[in-house]
Amino acid sequence: MGQLKAKDYKSGVKPIWCPGCGDYAVLNALTKAFAGLEIPHEEIVVASGIGCSSRFPAFIKTYGFHGVHGRPLPLATGIKLGNPDLTVVAVGGDGDGFSIGGGHMPHAARRNIDITYIVMDNSIYGMTKGQPSPTSPTGMHRKAAPYGTQETPLNPIMMALSYNASFVARCFSNKLKEMTDIIMQAIQHPGFAFIQVLSPCITFNDTYAHYREITQLIPEDHDTSDLAAALQLALVTDTQYLGVFYHDKERLGYCERVRMVQEAAPKMSLDAIIENYKR
């Protein structure tokens, strides 16, 4: 097992992504992370929603589930609870995760379900050909917004922190090594880990140059156990910090809590339960 390479985790199906799409880097980082952690293929499930980024599971050699738009989190939650021994990674796009699926993250976070959630955020709807997404900047012109978007972009890191997610990080497709490292930490984290990856859509919203300019690693002295400090970093938007904002190492993951409930529950047979209905 120790001999597994990143490429062994590629399914061999040619990604449908445009050449230069930021999502390739995420595929590389995740396969590297799996290889680095030596997780057997069959003990991994990658679940996704719908979008370019969500086509991910077809390209990776693990069990996969390409679900419906916006629901990778409930799907992955069910998978993990269905078999807590699995390593479960949910992936998707910014439209998938912050627009139609935006209602699920608060609950994945408050359950602290032991999955890693990677959002490939390109601030655009790639698959449907370039409509503004919840993280698109105000004033962006697209066919669906010919007069420019009138909305303020959401701040996914702030949101994740406000949901009290126990692991919150940001990566950039251009920084493969850092991303691999963070994904490895996230997978090892027993609880809900959220990673926003700035992953440019080269076809409809090429932000590589912009992000190269405004991204910056989180200062080394940042205390990742300090939520208030994490919020301060997240508030800054003209610089986009990269790295781990917050990491709560104390809180129990949901699977552990479920296990404790099961342990606390009296063992009963159906006949014993039925006794209750006899009286």
Binding site: P40, A58, H66, V68, L73, L81, N83, L86
Partner: protein, 592 residues
């Protein structure tokens, strides 16, 4: 006693929040404990407190099949209870009432038991206990044993330790009030069996029976979102699932619920959710996902009256079309319609069997009246049908070129579970090839559509051998028939008894699965019929339209006239309504 001499209908009416349901429920349990058969019905407003509430318990010395059309005994906690009931009470009926809350005109000719319940309770410094005063009086009239009565109350109220003593005192006072003031025998008292000879039965609601069925089937995962009247299924499983190593998650909404159970089932667990109309509508998208990815899930829809929020606490059978046809594009699903509380239990076992074996979503279509009523049922663990399991890949399959969605003869392919080495595949919501990878080729799409659809035909064959795929009552050669589904069964069967007494022969059929339809049973049922009636609790006669369409050729050939009886009022059928409709049908057909 109205329909059957050996049963009594006791109705308790009052303001919501006064403990009306509580004493109705406890009365049912005392009666069951005393060895009587019970069948209850409750209606309440969608308010939490306030609003008129009604609990009806029908008790009897033989099996009770419906809640009964009219009350024999009314326990009136407030004026409205009496007023509303007055029109329906036949003159020979009996009224028990709180004299401090209800005024009965002198002209009223029924038997009355006036009891100063509020006064008695207030004297105990426990005015809220007036309902228990009335309950005490009621149980005394029925000659229920005091110790047994007390034991049942203690058990039911164990979570309310603080008020238990006071309520028991109130109960006692009511019991004694009857003993002291009334010596003449009570008209409606039923002969009680010797406590030692009482056959073991359980008293259970449809919702609880469904939860028990899920446990019996080996359900290990539940995710659901609260909704009236489905919540009790979740609450029952929340209590017991962990004892079986199972997991229950209260999801953030119904969309999350269904996606979670799809995930858990994909991972290898038997998984289910339960909801009602509005929640079911929200699950339609993911139902198709389970269909195309061939993940086994069980969904319970406890129907309530729609459309939209509608009448959330009232019963209906208005979701049939949505359940049969609700989905963009065609994907297989099965539909089971339990027709009694007992059948709720078995339906869940069958639902899991079908879901797991066919890797297809199965919907159990129940309703508010059935899910929330108490019924006595004998407890036996014998299963009517084999429990079927998921087909897992063999070692040979996994060893080489495993194809998750292999196009087999019966449409069923083996399902690898994450963790199995060699079984890696993609569960794919896009049209896919046999390996699960996206494939948009026209021929592939057609092939996979056919593969999935084959499962319905395989199921139709399999179900033929199953006990009770369709239930039939009455005489096969009867010229007049009734086709029904779900919880209308009780009223129909009682109506048939009454009709039989009048010399009218009718046969009824209740399909257990509405998808696939039990064609053979239906066609054999039609054989001797001249006309059939399809009574159902919805506005547009949904079952009738479906059946008429499916069998119109047979109906035409046999010259069978089709009659519908649609009722969409939020309340169950009365036995009399069924009788009347049958009589009308016969009159029309016989031209008299």
């Amino acid at each position: 006693m109205t329909q059957t001499e050996s049963t009594v209908v006791v109705r308790v009416g009052g303001e919501g929040g006064e403990g009306t349901i509580t004493i109705g429920d406890i009365f049912s349990r005392i009666a069951a404990r005393a060895g009587l058969e019970v069948y209850s019905f409750r209606t309440y407003p969608s308010e939490i407190k306030g609003g008129q509430v009604l609990y009806q318990a029908r008790i009897g010395t033989q099996r009770v099949m419906s809640e009964g059309d009219e009350a024999d005994v009314l326990v009136a906690m407030n004026q409205q209870a009496w007023t509303e009931c007055n029109d329906h009470l036949c003159s020979m009926s009996t009224l028990i009432y709180d004299t401090n809350a209800v005024e009965v005109p002198e002209s009223y000719g029924g038997v009355t038991y006036p009891i100063p319940a509020t006064e008695i309770a207030t004297d105990l410094d426990w005015a809220r206990g007036k309902n228990f005063v009335l309950l005490g009086a009621l149980t005394c009239l029925f000659n229920f044993d005091w110790e047994m009565t007390k034991a049942v109350v203690e058990r039911r109220m164990q979570r309310h330790k603080d008020t238990l003593t006071k309520n028991l005192a109130a109960l006692r006072k009511g019991y004694e009030y009857i003993q002291e003031h009334y010596t003449a025998p009570f008209d409606h008292a039923l002969p009680l069996p010797d406590p030692d000879t009482i056959e073991e039965r359980i008293l259970i609601t449809g919702a609880e029976a469904m939860a028990m069925g899920a446990l019996a089937a080996g359900c290990q995962f539940y995710s659901g979102y609260p909704i009236t009247p489905a919540t009790p299924i979740m609450e029952t499983l929340a209590k017991y699932l962990p004892s079986f190593g199972g997991t229950l998650v209260q999801a953030e909404d119904e969309i999350a619920s269904i996606n979670m159970i799809i995930g858990a089932a994909f991972a290898g667990k038997k998984a289910m959710t339960a909801t009602s109309g509005p929640g079911f509508s929200l699950m339609i998208e993911a139902l198709g996902l389970a269909g195309i990815t061939e993940v086994p899930i069980v969904l319970v829809n406890v129907q309530r009256a729609g459309p939209s929020t509608g009448l959330p606490t009232k019963t209906s059978q208005g979701d049939l079309f949505l359940t049969l046809y609700g989905g963009h594009g065609d994907a297989p699903r099965f539909v089971i319609a339990p027709d009694s509380v007992k059948d709720c239990y078995y339906s869940m076992i069958n639902a899991f069997s079908l879901a797991e074996y066919f890797q297809t979503p199965v919907i159990v279509l129940s309703d508010q009246a059935m899910a929330s009523r108490l019924e006595t049922m004998p407890w036996d663990t014998k299963l009517w049908n084999p429990v079927l399991e998921r087909r897992l890949p063999t070692e040979e399959e996994l060893a080489e070129d495993y194809r998750r969605y292999k196009d087999t003869e019966d449409g069923i392919s083996s399902m690898a579970l994450p963790g199995m080495s060699g079984g890696i595949y993609l569960a794919e919501s896009l049209e896919h090839n046999e390996y699960g990878y996206p494939d948009q080729d026209p021929a592939n799409h057609e092939k996979m559509m056919k593969k999935r659809a084959k499962k319905t035909e395989t199921a139709r064959k399999l179900l033929k051998d199953w006990a009770s795929t369709a239930r039939r009552w009455g005489e096969e050669d009867a010229a007049f028939g009734i086709i029904g589904w779900g919880s209308t069964r009780g009223a129909v069967r009682e109506a048939m008894d009454l009709l039989q007494k009048r010399g009218i022969k009718v046969e009824a059929i209740y399909p257990h699965t509405l998808l696939p339809m039990p064609d053979e049973a239906m066609l054999s049922f039609f054989k001797h019929k001249k006309a059939v009636l399809v009574p159902e609790l919805n506005f547009s006669s949904q079952l009738a339209r479906m059946v008429e369409h499916r069998y119109y050729k047979a109906l035409y050939k046999l010259n069978i006239q089709f009659h519908t009886l649609a009722k969409e009022q939020g309340v169950p059928f009365k036995v009399q309504e069924i009788c009347d409709a049958v009589v009308k049908m016969i009159a029309e057909e016989e031209g008299c």
